[in-house]
Symmetry: C2
Subunit: 226 residues, 2 copies
């Protein structure tokens, strides 16, 4: 009844197009982690997309492959659905049935809003985690011995598969660059603030203290929403 396409984002539209043309099922869904690009590719092919619905199960681990599989992988996790006004209600219901069978929580979203959201809550944290972990590559052994649970948590997802993440990030570069640019602005301001704390100028030290406290307080405010 339902064809599930689970291939990297760059191949999603082509595989779906073949399946749609061959009419292998009543409904078609993909589980790619980026939704806007594949949809636009399909639209450009001029296919009837009423039997198609884009989806994204928000579950996964820093390890992939069959050995990382667990029966409760999707339990209680959001599973995004990106129907359009053209999507068949029957197909939406087939997708909702699959989501319910996996005990995930369906969340209906616009495809581009989904891509901006995952840039914020998934793709940016992945890159930032990798950048913090990358600082440890050349670190002294004694410094590494001091690593505690804080840096372990911040860098856990830095163990993820680079090839898989290059595929994901390549399919969503604009929204990720926009979020990272915001982090970069905060980072630049924080480096300036820290240099100010090292200064002999009392005004620079005071401005530095305020800027550091501001980023820490905004971090508190964001964290309570997670």
């Amino acid at each position: 009844d339902l064809a599930v396409v689970a291939v990297p984002p760059a191949h999603t539209a082509a595989v779906l197009a073949t399946a749609l043309r061959d009419g292998v099922a009543r409904g078609y869904l993909d589980v790619a982690s980026v939704k806007g690009g594949p949809r636009r590719e399909l639209e450009e092919l001029g296919l009837d997309l009423t039997p198609y619905i884009g989806t994204h199960p928000m579950a996964g681990k820093e390890r992939s492959g069959p050995l990382a599989a667990t029966a409760d992988l999707f339990e209680g996790r959001p599973w995004v659905l990106t129907p359009t006004r053209d999507t068949d209600t029957e197909v939406l219901n087939l997708a909702l049935e699959l989501v319910a069978l996996c005990r995930a929580v369906p969340v209906v979203m616009d495809a581009d809003a989904h891509d901006r959201a995952v840039a914020l809550v998934s793709h940016t944290p992945q890159l930032i985690s990798s950048m913090v972990a990358a600082r440890l590559e050349e670190a002294d052994e004694t410094a590494v011995r001091l690593c505690g649970q804080g840096i372990r948590d911040v860098t856990r997802i830095a163990a993820s598969d680079p090839r898989m993440w290059v595929e994901i990030l390549s399919a969503n570069p604009g929204p990720v660059a926009d979020v990272l640019a915001g982090v970069a602005a905060d980072l630049e301001e924080t480096v300036t603030a820290l240099r100010g704390l090292d200064s002999a100028d009392a005004r620079k030290r005071s401005a530095g203290t305020h800027a550091i406290e501001d980023v820490l307080r905004r971090g508190n405010a964001g964290r309570v929403r997670v």
Copy 2:
């Protein structure tokens, strides 16, 4: 026998100086999270520092205060000791006994090397975690619903007390700024790489892919050391 000074880094030297002058104990140690600055302040006061040893127990949580206390807080955690050639062996042994009683693992280091190490493994991850969490402050409710374990782990320590961290960072601004500047360079390169992936120019896309893969691979290499 042993006076333990547990006050913020900016007050550590003054409190120690008073205790040393009053001769309240045989040995004196502090547990401040920054070691170079307090030592230099004490040296400038011209006191006899043979009965003093700087230390830093590397344990803690994103919550502080009596309600966050646990009996096994220090168990198996590194406890840095920063003796100099002038430190009394008797005082070093008193400190080692305290560390053993708390079931922590003693690590002897130079004070400035300690400060550079914690800038890398503790202070930088704290600020970066806050910056990622800060992006969520203004996010749509639907985007926040998509948060998974990855961003939860990356932002866990963003819940930490800003006032405590302003104290810590103010005592170690130079080394933290140096590490953050390295992250900022990677970040800038990554934003350029992502913009390249969005480009019509095949060379820019290829360079973008390589730069993204590079930061992810360096993240893998650093992460295995934690």
